[in-house]
Symmetry: D2
Subunit: 265 residues, 4 copies
């Protein structure tokens, strides 16, 4: 049962007739024109402005999450818009609803694996930790989150670039080193290519930025909502979802309708 509270509090922000404050900063004078959209997201997650280096790295990882072509969530947003063109927000909301365990789970899982292995550990033995992690996942017969990709083989082209950006900005530390060691051992153990995919890279870099693992799904939600607006606007100009629907409906009718089943006679 929920615990009762005497006072409702929130540190996110407040406004009065002549002031608007977000996380302790005056919106008009300290945020507008000073911070880009990614920086404001960082402020909301970390409760402070990013350094210029953090800004570049954080923007890069969220930017990576915006657009992945005609994904199921893009199709969901487009098909929702088909029925409710007056409610763009509902189309985006519907598209976000499917960002669950299957599509954002591995990013969350990678961040969790790395932060549970390293947070609070001084002078960690990365080789030993990597050995243990690979063995643990093998024993549990689980996929190691953040490794492998159905399309991008042998290398996910986003990963080396993201790691490069992190290194250029002084944010390549033990978390990135650990996932690279995990990858080497996993490839050796399984005898196949297991590239660190973008979700693995983002999980590691999030940890380098000090973001708790449970926040990482939120990065996907932030990024994808922007991408979904893009899909809805293209659907408006170049509608394709009705055609996708009608083809599927016709195929079902052919395969299961009265002519197929004899029930219609």
């Amino acid at each position: 049962m929920a615990k009762r509270k005497e006072n409702l509090t929130s540190e996110i922000g407040w406004s009065t007739p002549d002031e608007i404050n977000v996380r302790g900063l005056d919106l008009p004078s300290e945020i507008l024109g000073e911070m880009n959209l990614g920086d404001l997201a960082f402020l909301l997650l970390k409760h402070r402005k990013p350094s210029p280096e953090e800004s570049r790295v954080f923007n890069a990882i969220v930017v990576t999450l915006v657009e992945h072509g005609l994904t199921p969530s893009a199709l969901v947003a487009r098909m929702t818009y088909l029925g409710a063109p007056e409610a763009l927000q509902a189309a985006v909301a519907a598209g976000l609803s499917g960002l669950g365990t299957v599509f954002v789970g591995s990013m969350e899982g990678a961040a969790k694996m790395l932060s549970e292995a390293l947070d609070g550990v001084t002078d960690p033995d990365l080789d030993a930790i990597a050995d243990r992690l690979v063995a643990d996942f093998a024993e549990r017969r689980q996929i190691i989150p953040g490794l492998g990709h159905p399309v991008h083989k042998p290398v996910d082209p986003r990963t080396p670039r993201l790691f490069e950006i992190a290194a250029e900005n002084g944010l390549s530390g033990d978390y990135i080193a650990l996932i690279q060691k995990v990858q080497e051992r996993a490839e050796a153990a399984r005898g196949k290519s297991l590239p660190i995919n973008a979700t693995g890279a983002i999980g590691a870099i999030s940890s380098e930025l000090g973001l708790p693992w449970h926040i990482v799904r939120g990065l996907g939600v932030m990024g994808r909502s922007i991408g979904l607006v893009g899909h809805v606007l293209e659907e408006r100009e170049n509608p394709i979802s009705a055609e996708i629907w009608l083809r599927a409906e016709e195929e079902i009718l052919k395969n299961n309708g009265p002519d197929a089943t004899g029930k219609g006679d």
Copy 2:
């Protein structure tokens, strides 16, 4: 009925085993580390990179839309998280669902009013257009979108700053001039303070950026999804939605329960 299409097409992007392309740009080499989150949103809406000036102005207007304190949509996201803490994306989706005519309508309305008045008009007579608009809305007994604010009086502190950023970056033109003239005439006609609110400023600046008015609701959705992630994460650390719910439920029980109605005897 939906028209049929022979071919499904989408210009947003594609990926192959070693390439990922978004709106004609190579994601790893031309986007990551080069564009911030607001710039990528601009790319998806305008199909080209922003200039540095456009980047500053566009980021400023979307940043304005991220966070407005404990709004109904923030409460919706927090209360959804209360029941489904495993599904942060569903909480944000629920929060976005209420960004309809009441809360984002005036921004869309302001952009529509300005662009319908000025798009394709060469050498417009702004004074005459402003007179006509104020008269038209008065005749239809409608509120002029983008003017007036229940809290921020006599000035919405975001508006002068947004207009300043637009001017500093060479993006203050007829749309901004027109809404300012509309405001002057509306205040004179109605005899009361009618500040250009943030939605009016954003509607005007969107038009200066060449964004079609029907896109403007999408800016609100992009910005607010980031703000809602912030609310869900604070709810996780400092839960308040259960208390808000329980207080309301208890008050209903007191006002309408068996002791109030005698039905429980």
Copy 3:
């Protein structure tokens, strides 16, 4: 701006340690085992139990709205489940999001047209009203809501059965008579088959039941949520949404990918 309230009230229901009350009825003793699901929906909309005749008619119209095959909203629910199989509720929520102006609008529109024409009118001249309605819609170049169907021609097979059920239960009055007269005149004026479709029949019968027109969209939401649960459960056993997605994605890659555009070279 929202008006303030001193007291929060709700007449829907309340519970105490040993009682649960819904709209004035004791849930365990007066509802459970006594009312079916449609009857409880009626109770929530009309604030009283249906008569046996009302129960049959109301259940029939909501039942009509449950299942329409592989609609866009069914595809949306299935594709959302693909990404978040742990959250069946999110899949149904996503599917409901698209029940907007395009797919439920005509039902709402038919109920509105009929109730605005007849509510509060004693001894209405149905022929004259039908003439006027057909002329008004023609003048505004609008489709008459509730008439015409892309597939079910010349007769929507649900309509005569719904009208028969209404008549058998003493609920066929002026609203049904009016939409039939509107249909006759519209067919004569336009010279083509314009069957009263199921949404027109439901709009008329809702009005016979005394349901306000703005409630009618809610009937669609109630019914469809049940149908969407059915689709998600079939998707679990016989997944088809991934195939629909992958076919579309591959076609886009072929039509817009590097080989098509030369950008990948």
Copy 4:
């Protein structure tokens, strides 16, 4: 990665110009006027019509799930409607989004516990199984799903009535007997009142009806969507969500605003 399919199939239904078929039944002649809303839900879940006894029992359990007063999901629907009154479907969708592990989890958990203990077991020793279940949950320090209630003590008034309806209709078997034995042992072991709550009763009765445990969350979704339509319609007539929001916002401003923090000086 998703497996490919050569053919898309669906057994739910199909339509041709003059026929509409749902799960093998002709909608106009075999469903409309013949089956109530709960019966159609049963058809979609079980792929056959219910017997009269099954109809009474199934309707009773779904009816139980419709309305629980001013829950968080009801507040979510009402607050979404506040911002988007043009989109009732979005309000219901938002309200459903929170039916996750916290509020429907125990129903799913009870059904899972009982079906995993009994499905496929001939001649089960219910006493031994109950002992084992109580010991297992105690060892894992987990709450037994379906037992205990924060308000309804010592008895949840829905439970005896639901069990009575099941018994009257010949559907009280081993699943109900087992949860009753689990309750007795759990109360003895923990030395406190642990009533079988409505979710426990519904979990058990669902199993008696042969519904797989993973379907049980869908029953909650079906029922609640009907209840949420009721809340949105009451909010339309008697709006309370704005007041709840404004009270919370004012309290935050008092506790965290400029006067509290000194940041506004």
